[in-house]
């Protein structure tokens, strides 16, 4: 079956929201994807790394460079 491609799915995830907070809220041009944070990573360390099913938010401020990198990473 064909899946309807919502234009929203073409949008990039918001790097600020992925970090935890985005000042633009519902008016942001990027997609705000709600995720559950990994409790281990929040404590400081998770042995699962990228394989973890929960989010490991990066705290570095988004720059043009790491927006491009995070966009290239499979999520």
């Amino acid at each position: 079956p064909f899946r309807h491609i919502d234009p929203e799915t073409k949008m990039k995830d918001c790097p600020w929201y992925d970090r935890g907070f985005c000042r633009h809220g519902p008016y942001c041009k990027h997609r705000h994807r709600r995720r559950a944070v990994c409790p281990n990573y929040l404590a400081g360390f998770c042995p699962q790394g990228r394989e973890c099913q929960h989010a490991h938010p990066s705290f570095g401020l988004p720059s043009f460079e790491n927006i491009a990198i995070s966009h290239a990473k499979p999520s």
Partner: protein, 60 residues
Amino acid sequence: PIYDQDLATMEDRPWRKPGADITDYFNYGFTEETWNLYCERQKKLRIEFGGNQQAANNAL
């Protein structure tokens, strides 16, 4: 103090308004308060264990 620069520079707090959805602004179940605590912890631990003030500042 407010530890997140972005939050600190905001004059109004639109997520506090009636009808606003806080999850439009904060991910991972954060609230204004827990987000601030989290940012504070990021800063403290990076300074203490990184031992490198400049690197810690750059990360914030």
